[in-house]
């Protein structure tokens, strides 16, 4: 489990990183915290000829704030977010989600940009930040562009990033003061990847649910928006429906047929339903808390 040989290049800034990528061509990979890439390279599932290391690019660890949003540099680690060392525009959701990513050692090195670029739908940031209507800020030698996360993920480990592009930041709109959130991760063991991951946010206006967002991770190759569950909440209010009702909506949303599923698939669907239901309950607790 040792990687194949590669050349190592250390970027000193976002600009130097994209310049390196342009120069090195298609067999180069960007490394951020390395928490996903290094195990893959050690198992020789990926053998890039060149690694472009962003660790020395201090400008990627910065952040900007405006009235409407917070822009976090791609090299912000999960630990920095967990510890509140960067602003959280989502009323505490980002801090809470960060604290459940792997183990603290992983959080010390893993980054928000790396997580989004890696695009594993079982990870926290793709689903959480999609639910927050965030956008990826992407740079190449040709310039900078923004892609809403709802358009960013194409499939497992596959995103809108071109080979010569680096995700340099993520722009996150501020939550309104009355927007509550629920976040539930279901896993077999503390610290492991999610078997199911649900994010529920809405503006709580008296007893009504306004502008809900319900997103589900670890169910498909990309995070999934559950418009059917959003409609349930808008119509019926913030109380959690029974698991079976949630499950029926999810099955419809994912175009799955309960009767055609084998026991393992049914259990997974059940876990998703329970996770989403529990996230709805969690949002109520956050509201009351």
């Amino acid at each position: 489990m040792k990687p194949a040989a590669f050349s190592y290049h250390r970027a000193t800034s976002a600009d130097s990183a994209v310049a390196l990528l342009a120069e090195l061509g298609e067999d180069a990979k960007v490394i951020a915290g390395g928490q996903s890439l290094l195990p893959i390279m050690n198992m020789r599932l990926a053998e890039p000829a060149h690694l472009v290391d962003l660790a020395g690019a201090d400008d990627l660890r910065d952040w900007q704030e405006s009235d409407g949003d917070v822009t976090l540099g791609a090299m912000s680690t999960h630990g920095m977010i967990e510890d509140g060392l960067v602003p959280d525009p989502c009323n505490g959701l980002l801090q809470h989600a960060a604290s459940g990513i792997g183990y603290r050692a992983i959080r010390n090195r893993g980054t928000i940009g790396g997580s989004l670029s890696h695009a594993d739908s079982s990870a926290e940031w793709p689903t959480v930040l999609s639910a927050c209507d965030a956008a990826a800020v992407i740079r190449s030698v040709a310039g900078t562009r923004e892609v809403p996360l709802s358009d960013f993920f194409f499939g497992f480990f596959s995103t809108a990033l071109q080979l010569d592009e680096v995700l340099v930041a993520v722009r996150i709109p501020r939550f309104a003061p009355d927007r509550v959130w629920g976040f539930v991760k279901t896993n077999r063991k503390l610290g492991e990847f999610a078997e199911s991951l649900a994010v529920v946010t809405y503006r709580r206006v008296e007893d009504a649910v306004v502008s809900p967002r319900v997103w589900l991770g670890a169910a498909r190759d990309v995070p999934v928006r559950l418009a059917g569950v959003e409609a349930l909440l808008s119509d019926d209010g913030p109380d959690a429906p029974p698991v079976q009702a949630v499950r029926d909506v999810i099955l419809t949303e994912l175009e799955q047929d309960w009767d055609a599923m084998d026991p393992g698939e049914r259990h997974m669907a059940q876990l998703h339903a329970v996770t989403v239901r529990n996230a709805i309950k969690h949002a109520q607790e956050v509201h009351h808390g």
């Binding site: 040792k2 198992m43 077999r188 063991k189 990847f193 698991v243 026991p263 259990h267 059940q270 329970v274």
Partner: protein, 797 residues
């Protein structure tokens, strides 16, 4: 002499809570493992291993530019090393050699095919990748149905079928007992395959010193002398030319006490290359090629009267032993142990069993903490609970009614094991109060039936054979009869002790516990006793650390050597102090006389060793060697009852442990801190077996659980606070009355937790009889039971 030993209480002797001396270096990252070895010119080995579970190895093509001597296949290795064939005296047993490097066929994913050597592991892997390996796939055997199918592909083509061995027994009068039974229950239990997962994987290094004709082999092993003997034999060299060293070993649990082909292969190659070589197993290799465990199916039928008294037991046991048999345990080990342990701690004398140990395209099965006893315990203890439910009594009560009682000790079981001492029913009684049984029964009653949570209580009891002698191993059919252990104790001119033993700790704390035995005799601080273990050139012959034997065997040998040395020291002191040696005693590093005279051990030793003429009448040397064997060849019986309380979430099948208690008796406890550590560690591994760990294979026999992404181990968050109560009934047969403690607490957790989950789901009508009890498995049982409830005309699975 006993007076000198027992007269004064020892601060650091038997029973003392001494902090482990070895912990300091491990907690500071200053241990010294095989991987830490630094030798000039050391080069690294990567193995080419089969990626296919079963196939004909057609050819291995070595790139022509490969450095000479850096690629080895069986063709190059064969003149220098023969494969080891594990043998058994069991009449039905079939043998097959365990190849050092594959030839003709490959029979499991991970089987070694070739060796690649380079300056670094990464470069060795590059070289390994450059070899072309042609394998023609054959159908893979993964389970008993596949193995025993009359048209099955044969793993070993000179065998008539895929069976290593079958055994059977018909004891007492089972049919008569069946005729008078009021209740008969048949149940089937599956314990799925596990990896062993020591923190340190295997590692082997070898260096041949041409100037002296000496081969040194470093290996992370529990059994250095056994490795020494077998490597010398397979290489055809004199044992005096081979030195085997096990440095710090980071866990073994049974996966490091077999003779591995990698050990033989590296030793042989080292003699024919001009540089030392090292192989450090990576985690993928460990998950596919280290010996694996469990993988058993038990079908039990229990016959009882209406009071729940067991009249007879019938058992059918199938063990998936993997592709090869390992030395010395053989592929028949689990089945033999399992069959003997099914009767458990119960007074039942009618028993019929049949076992089959079959071959499959998986890694060879080997020992793992508890060895078959967890599977046997799951089978009999789940059955006892179902029996209790059937006759309408509490599970604790049915155990007390059926257990061998203290007045019956020693008791010869139907499987001819001699249970030597203890109070099994008392352990059950204490277990119920340890977890506050009545409180949880009340909580169960108070739960709203519409709630989606359930609470359950489960017990599991067992008795296990530890530190057995030669005759017992012979009765199991092993080619070697393990039953003696050596210790050498030396007192030097500075007054410190060097204790050399044949066992090898992989975390058992021998540097402390065996030093406590010396301290019990001489009343010295344990820091004055240095332990030599693991180096065959420095230690007397011993069999190693496994089968929960070390404290009894090495402790007994240490006591024997210490007693003989103490005798001599008192005679020397008698001369120096001008006193009758029978009136002298040890106290805090000195020898004291009745009138207040004294001499320190340091002064005594220096005087005797430097100027022996000052001590006439005493033979030279201050060292004694003693070989111990147990007086009772069938071993000494450690027993326990575990109690578990769980909460089950009906919507997901998730199981949460609310409380866990252990009432155990391992005889006299030498170091309570160490024994508690063993109990907790064993329960943790048992929880892994019960809830988390499983080696999964796809339908083509490909292993899927090859990293910790898929293979889940219990971590600190999965292990509850474990309540422990010790009964400490001394064994009548061993030095100080100790019994084995290393494995026991891994035996009961799967049974206790399965009983607790089944108790929780009893009102729904669901039970769980397969481990690990993953949420999916538990939920499927709940679904099936709830469906049967909703529409009784549909039959649930």
């Amino acid at each position: 002499m006993t007076d000198a030993i027992t007269k004064r209480p020892r601060a650091q002797g038997i029973g003392a809570r001494v902090l482990r001396r070895e912990d300091a270096r491990h907690l500071h990252g200053e241990g010294s493992f095989v991987e830490d070895l630094r030798l000039p010119g050391l080069r690294h080995v990567a193995f080419v291993r089969s990626q296919i579970p079963h196939g004909r190895l057609e050819r291995v093509v070595v790139p022509p530019e490969a450095e000479p001597g850096c690629v080895w296949t069986e063709a190059e290795l064969a003149p220098w090393a023969t494969p080891l064939t594990a043998t058994s005296t069991l009449p039905s047993y079939r043998t097959a050699p365990l190849p050092n490097l594959a030839v003709g066929k490959v029979r499991y994913v991970g089987e070694p095919i070739a060796v690649a050597i380079a300056d670094s592991r990464a470069e060795a892997e590059d070289l390994a990748e450059s070899l072309e390996v042609d394998i023609e796939p054959l159908p893979a055997i993964v389970d008993v149905a596949g193995a025993l199918d009359p048209n099955a592909t044969l793993l070993h083509e000179d065998w008539p079928d895929n069976v290593f061995a079958r055994t059977e027994g018909d004891l007492g009068d089972v049919d008569a007992a069946i005729a008078r039974a009021d209740v008969s229950l048949t149940r089937r239990y599956t314990m799925n395959r596990q990896a062993v997962v020591p923190l340190e994987t295997r590692a082997v290094a070898a260096h041949y010193d041409r100037s002296r004709g000496q081969l040194t082999l470093w290996t992370s092993t529990q059994t250095p002398h056994m490795i020494h003997d077998m490597v010398a034999e397979q290489l055809g060299i004199d044992g005096s030319r081979l030195r085997v060293i096990a440095p710090d070993v980071g866990g073994g649990f049974g996966a490091k006490c077999s003779v591995y082909p990698e050990e033989i292969t590296l030793a042989a190659i080292a003699m024919h290359v001009p540089f030392p070589i090292v192989w450090v197993e990576d985690r993928w290799e460990a998950q596919v090629a280290m010996t694996q465990a469990r993988d058993t199916v038990y079908e039990i039928t229990a016959h009882a009267d209406s009071d729940g008294r067991l009249l007879a037991i019938e058992a059918e046991i199938a063990v998936n032993a993997g592709a090869y048999s390992v030395h010395p345990w053989t592929a028949a080990m689990d089945a033999g142990m399992g069959a003997a342990m099914v009767p458990g701690p119960y007074d039942v004398q009618n028993y019929r069993f049949r076992t089959v140990s079959y071959a499959s395209n998986k890694a060879p099965l080997g020992p793992y903490r508890g060895v078959a006893r967890p599977g046997a315990c799951l089978a009999i203890e789940r059955t006892m609970d179902d029996l209790a439910r059937e006759v309408g009594i509490e599970p604790a009560e049915i155990r007390i009614r059926n257990m061998v009682g203290p007045a019956q000790m020693p008791y010869t079981s139907v499987a001819r094991k001699v249970y030597d001492s203890g109070d099994y029913p008392e352990a059950v009684r204490r277990a119920t109060s340890l977890i506050d049984h009545d409180r949880w029964r009340l909580e169960q009653k108070l739960l709203d039936p519409a709630s989606r949570r359930r609470i359950g209580i489960g017990y599991a009891s067992f008795t296990e054979q530890t530190a057995h002698g030669c005759l017992e191993w012979a009765s199991r059919g092993l080619a070697i009869t393990i039953g003696k252990e050596g210790a050498r104790l030396l007192l030097d001119a500075s007054g410190s002790f060097t204790l050399s033993v044949g066992v090898k700790s992989q975390g058992q704390g021998h540097e402390t516990s065996l030093a406590q035995v010396v301290s019990e005799v001489f009343d010295v601080d344990v820091s004055r006793v240095t332990l030599n273990a693991g180096d065959t050139s420095l230690t007397p012959r011993g069999d190693g650390t496994f089968a929960s034997r070390s404290m009894v065997m090495a402790g007994g040998a240490t006591f024997g050597a210490a007693s003989a040395l103490a005798d001599k020291v008192l005679r020397i002191a008698g001369v120096l102090l001008q006193e009758d040696p029978d009136r002298l005693f040890f106290h805090q590093g000195e020898v004291h006389g009745p009138g207040g005279t004294s001499v320190t051990l340091a002064h005594l030793a220096r005087e005797f060793l430097f100027t022996p003429d000052h001590v006439p009448g005493v033979d030279g040397g201050l060292e004694e060697t003693f070989f111990y064997e147990p007086t009772q060849q069938t071993g000494t019986y450690t027993y326990a009852t575990h109690a578990a309380v769980v909460e089950v979430e009906l919507d997901t099948g998730q199981v949460r442990i609310l409380d866990y208690g252990v009432v155990e008796d391992c005889g006299t406890v030498v170091n309570p801190l160490i024994v508690d550590g063993q109990i907790i560690g064993g329960v943790a591994q048992g929880i892994g077996t019960a809830l988390l760990e499983e080696l999964v294979y796809d339908e083509d026999g490909q292993p899927k659980s090859t990293s910790f992404l898929d293979y889940l181990l219990p971590g600190a968050a999965e292990i509850p606070e474990i309540k422990i109560d010790h009964m400490a009934t001394p064994s009548p047969f061993t030095t100080f009355g100790v019994k084995g403690a290393g494995e026991s607490s891994a035996i009961a957790p799967p049974a206790a937790l399965a009983n607790a989950v089944s108790d929780a789901l009893a009102d729904i009508g669901a039970t769980v009889n397969e481990t690990p009890m993953t949420p999916r498995r538990v939920w499927e049982q709940i679904q099936a039971a709830e469906a049967a409830d909703a529409s009784p005309s549909e039959v649930a699975s």
